[in-house]
Every structure is written in C-alpha cells, then in structure tokens.
Symmetry: C2
Subunit: 190 residues, 2 copies
C-alpha cells in the first residue's frame, strides 16, 4: 500500500470525475488510473479494493464540496436579515452547481451506499456533521429562522440542485432563482 499523499489525492480527485462521468459501476482502478494520468496499476497500489476506494472518496468529497474559510468569513458580514439569507442561499446553490461533477459524484455515492455498508457509514457521518454544522452556524449567525428552517432549506435546495444538474430543462434559471427566494421566505415560517 503506497503512501504518497499527493498522489493519493490526485487519484481520489480523478475518482470523483470518473464517478460523475461513468457512474458508480464505472469506477474501476483502471479508469481512475487513466483519469489521474498515472500508469495503469497505480490505483491498485493505493486502495486495497474497490470498497476501500469508494470509502476514501466518500471521505474526501465533502472537503471539496464545502465552502472554504474565506467564503465562510464573508458569509458573516453584513446585516443578517432575510434578504441576506436569500443571497447566501443563491451563492450556495451556485457554488455547488458549479462543481457539478462533485455533486453528481456524491449522488452516485449515495446510491452506491445502498449496496456498501462501509460507504454508507462514512457518508452518514459526514452528512450528519454537515447538517449539524449548518444548524450551529445558523444559530450563531443571527439570521432569522430556526432549526427547522435550516432543515427545510437543506431539503428543498438539494433537490433543486438535483433538478438543475440532471434535467436542466425542467426549471428555467429564472424559476430556480425565484424558488430559492421563496424557499427562504417560507421556510422561515410563521
């Protein structure tokens, strides 16, 4: 088992692209090798088996999907009212949509998780952390709404992104924009 961390990261990033492009079943050692432009057989040396590969990708994908520190810092600026909230959610949707291969890869991983208990455990933990962090961040931010608002926004925006990435002709960009606004407004609740 090789240990070069740069190479490992390159392989995992390659695996994300393969996942998005070829689907879970297309994620093979050879495909990862090609995508990462390393000699065939390399991935075999870095992952014990396909299960291991899936698990490691599941562990890393959130690092790439989450906002960086600068973005987080910026999110705390300005008056924290409903308009600001909507603005942040627009940024979120755009940021995630922009890294579309990452989001599609995560969907593939979710589906694969129905077949691989280890992967399911990793994803459950990561996503649980993410949700809890969102709730905590929201509570500390002074933005309007409660925990339920955060959860409802999480639900609605996730599917909105699915819709945009998988069947882009269902909603126009304008409709997506308006739905984000309305989702924020109504999820804040009475």
């Amino acid at each position: 088992m090789r240990r070069n961390p740069e190479r490992r990261r390159a392989l995992i990033d390659g695996a994300i692209e393969v996942l998005a492009r070829e689907g879970a079943r297309g994620l093979t050692f050879r495909a990862v090798d090609k995508e990462a432009a390393v000699p065939p057989g390399t991935a075999s040396n870095y992952f014990a088996n396909r299960d291991d590969l899936f698990t490691q990708v599941g562990g890393r994908i959130y690092e790439r999907l989450l906002p960086d520190e600068a973005t987080m810092a910026r999110s705390r600026e300005g008056t924290q009212d409903q308009n600001r909230y909507a603005e942040l959610m627009h940024e979120l949707v755009d940021r995630v949509s922009a890294f579309n291969t990452g989001y599609l890869a995560l969907l593939e991983l979710r589906l694969e998780a129905t077949r691989r208990p280890e992967l399911r455990a990793v994803l459950t933990e990561r996503i649980r952390e993410d949700i809890d962090a969102n709730i905590a961040h929201h509570a500390a931010s002074g933005l309007p709404g409660d925990k339920t608002s955060v959860l409802l926004l999480y639900l609605a925006l996730n599917w909105l992104i699915v819709e945009r990435l998988t069947l882009p002709d269902i909603f126009t960009e304008q409709e997506i924009h308006d739905l984000v606004d309305e989702a924020v407004r109504r999820s804040l609740g009475a």
Copy 2:
C-alpha cells in the same frame, strides 16, 4: 424486434429492479433476462440497444410511481384543509418510499440522463407533465396554498425521500414525520 406487450412489460419491470440493485451501468440485456426469468438473449430481441432500453424504462417508470385512480379519488374526499394536506403528503411519501426500487431506479435514470440525450428528453417530458398535473390537481382540489407551495413541497419531499432511501440513519422516522408536517405548514406561506 419482438412485439409481445406482456413480455415487454415484464422485461421493463425487471429492468427497474436491476437498475435499483445494480445501478445504471449494471443494466445489461443479460441482467434483464435473468431478472425477468426469461431465456438469455430475449432482451436483445425486444430492445434495439441499451439506449433504447433506457428510454423505454424512462417512459414506463412513472406509470408505476404515480398513484392509481382509487388513491387519487380518495385524495379528494374530506375537508380540504391544511391537516388534510399534511395527511396526503404523508401518504405520498410512504407510498413512494414503499416502492423504493422504483424511486432508486428513477434516480439512477436521472444520473444516466446526463449521458443520454434521448433519455433526458423522455424524463424531462414525463416529469414536467407530473409537476404540471400536481399543480393543476392542487388548484382544483381546494387545498390551501398556491403554485409555489406545490413546487416547494415537491422539492423538499423529493429530497426527504432520497435521504430516507439512501442514508436512512440521517433522520429518524419521527423527524421525517415532523419535517413533512412542517414542510406543508411553511410552504403554504404567509
């Protein structure tokens, strides 16, 4: 190209199970043959190629996911208030979750649609119809809320089902129940 419609339906239903279990890439003629318990080679005779198979499955899957007439009729009974709305949404979530292979297959198809234009066209049309039907049905029902409520519920409940089917430990059954209630309440808006 064979034409026996019963056999074709059996093959497509088999394909749905294969999709859910093995993923899009696992959907092969041979796998469908096995699942439908017909001799190997049969699917080759019913679908011109894999693309055709995907497209036909995409056309049929909604027939099986949508409520039957009896359920639709029952949905129009009783006082059409917010509590009734929530009740209907609980039924919806449970009904779709119950046919989990169908829902998972649809997710696989969505992901595959990013690679197959024909499939994308079919799914876009079907889902567009479904959304429009939901809006029309809602408008005629006398239930509270507007078109936007319907769309926001569509978004939130879809992801809730994804969450339940792919990572069941993220939310408890109780949390799911409460989220449906809150989604109905808040999506109705001010």
